[in-house]
């Protein structure tokens, strides 16, 4: 329903920031992610960050993939 892309926050000025993905940069609205800090990865939709990506959770998901695949090795 909504294309959402992980941008890395490389600059923050109050409620506006600059996100970067593979050399592509874009101004981001940060009002909805008050805690975001430079270096965080943000889920961005329509130029607005909707969430801070949780690295630990992401690791766990990747682990789960590996676990499933290990099951069938």
């Amino acid at each position: 329903m909504c294309v959402g892309i992980p941008f890395k926050l490389i600059e923050r000025h109050n409620e506006e920031g600059i996100g970067e993905l593979d050399g592509v940069q874009r101004k981001l609205a940060l009002q909805l992610v008050p805690g975001a800090q430079v270096g965080d990865y943000l889920l961005v939709h329509a130029g607005c960050a909707l969430q801070i990506i949780d690295q630990t959770a992401a690791m766990e998901t990747l682990e789960a993939f590996r676990a499933i695949s290990d099951e069938i090795r």
Partner: protein, 357 residues
């Protein structure tokens, strides 16, 4: 970690799909509510990878394809006004109204601009003080807060030349309509809606339908894993909701985003192309912000749906039919001349079937 390629690893994908192949369970008919899932499934060719016992049926797709043609007509009419610049997502341009698309209106010389972010439309208003910018507000729970922000931003800047023509929709109140009376064994729920809403509405939908459900991400591995989880839940007879996408979906969603929604909009009945009028399934702009409401400012007509004779869209949107069952599919109805909601956007079920087979 960059949260893209890691979730697309062909090696892991091969292993996960091998796993799906090996599991010899019951037939599993899954509805994906979300057009972005539909597109991702098509793009990765997953239909040809999944074992035949997995049957996929598509839900309402995207906010663009459920926008009634009357809305497009009203927007096209608005663009005749030389003092108006219509700003919109690119998605809206090809959707046919009853008298052509906005792309046709633009190619006839009207000032219709594509923006990536609604906030860019506010910038357009700052840069064009002698014009009035109308942003075409379409979207579901994920997009609506961003559009709400534009109104707050315009108010903060004291702009009087920016407004939103709202056809915003809420998808969570619609879920029960889509599952009611269907033979389903699982639900694939849209992760990017859940980012805002949290898990509760989807848990409710799973309970009401008494079905296993997964809130899933959109990368290749996310979707494959979601199918494995759905299969396991179905096998174990557990009509639960699992969050496959915890890296962005928190149980409680995004409270700041929902606060913006509550501040700027209120839920209202809304016409969905192919589904008709649905109570509480749209968002209207609150009276406090009526000076940013293009519908009010320009006295735009209330939008209702009209159906195209022969189009099975409502059946497809409610998962009762697949696109190839429609007699118009690929004959009278093509991406260049779409007859119904499901063909209009690249994300619509008929369009995805048409393009990716």
């Amino acid at each position: 970690m960059r949260f893209v390629d890691e979730f697309r690893s062909p090696a892991l994908a091969a292993l996960l799909s091998a796993r799906l192949q090996r599991l010899a369970g019951q037939p599993l008919t899954v509805m994906e509510f979300c057009g972005t899932h539909t597109m991702a499934i098509a793009r990765y060719g997953l239909r040809t990878v999944l074992p035949p016992r997995f049957r996929l049926i598509s839900g309402p797709g995207c906010p663009v394809c459920v926008t009634p043609p009357g809305y497009i007509d009203a927007a096209a009419d608005l663009s005749r006004n030389k003092a108006v610049i219509v700003a919109t997502f690119g998605d809206m341009l090809r959707i046919p109204g009853t008298e052509g698309s906005l792309l046709q209106a633009r190619s006839a010389g009207r000032d219709i601009r594509i923006v990536y972010s609604p906030l860019d439309a506010v910038r357009l208003a700052q840069d064009n003080p002698c014009k009035h910018i109308v942003f075409l507000g379409v979207g579901f729970e994920a997009t609506a807060p961003v559009i709400g922000l534009t109104i707050l931003e315009a108010a903060r800047l004291g702009l009087n030349n920016y407004s939103v023509f709202s056809a915003l929709k809420l998808v969570t109140p619609v879920l029960h309509l889509l599952t009611a009376g269907r033979k389903l064994q699982g639900l694939l729920c849209p992760g990017h809606i859940a980012v805002v809403t949290g898990l509760a509405p989807f848990r409710l939908a799973a309970e009401q339908a008494n079905l296993p459900a997964v809130v899933a991400g959109f990368e290749l591995l996310d979707i494959l894993q979601a199918f494995i989880i759905l299969d396991r839940l179905a096998e174990q007879g557990r009509p639960e909701l699992i969050n496959q996408y915890p890296r962005v979906v928190r149980a409680e969603g995004n409270a700041a985003a929902r606060a913006v929604l509550r501040r700027v909009f209120y839920p209202e009945a809304s016409w969905w192309r192919g589904l008709g009028r649905i109570a509480q399934a749209g968002l209207a702009i609150r009276k406090e912000y009526c000076r940013y409401d293009a519908g009010k400012i320009f006295g735009l007509p209330a939008i209702t749906d009209t159906e195209t004779a022969g189009c099975y869209c409502s059946d497809i949107l409610t998962g009762r039919k697949t696109p190839p069952e429609c007699v118009l599919f690929k004959t009278k109805c093509t991406p260049e001349q779409p007859q119904g909601a499901c063909m209009v956007s690249g994300e619509g079920a008929c369009s995805a079937y048409y393009r990716y087979g």
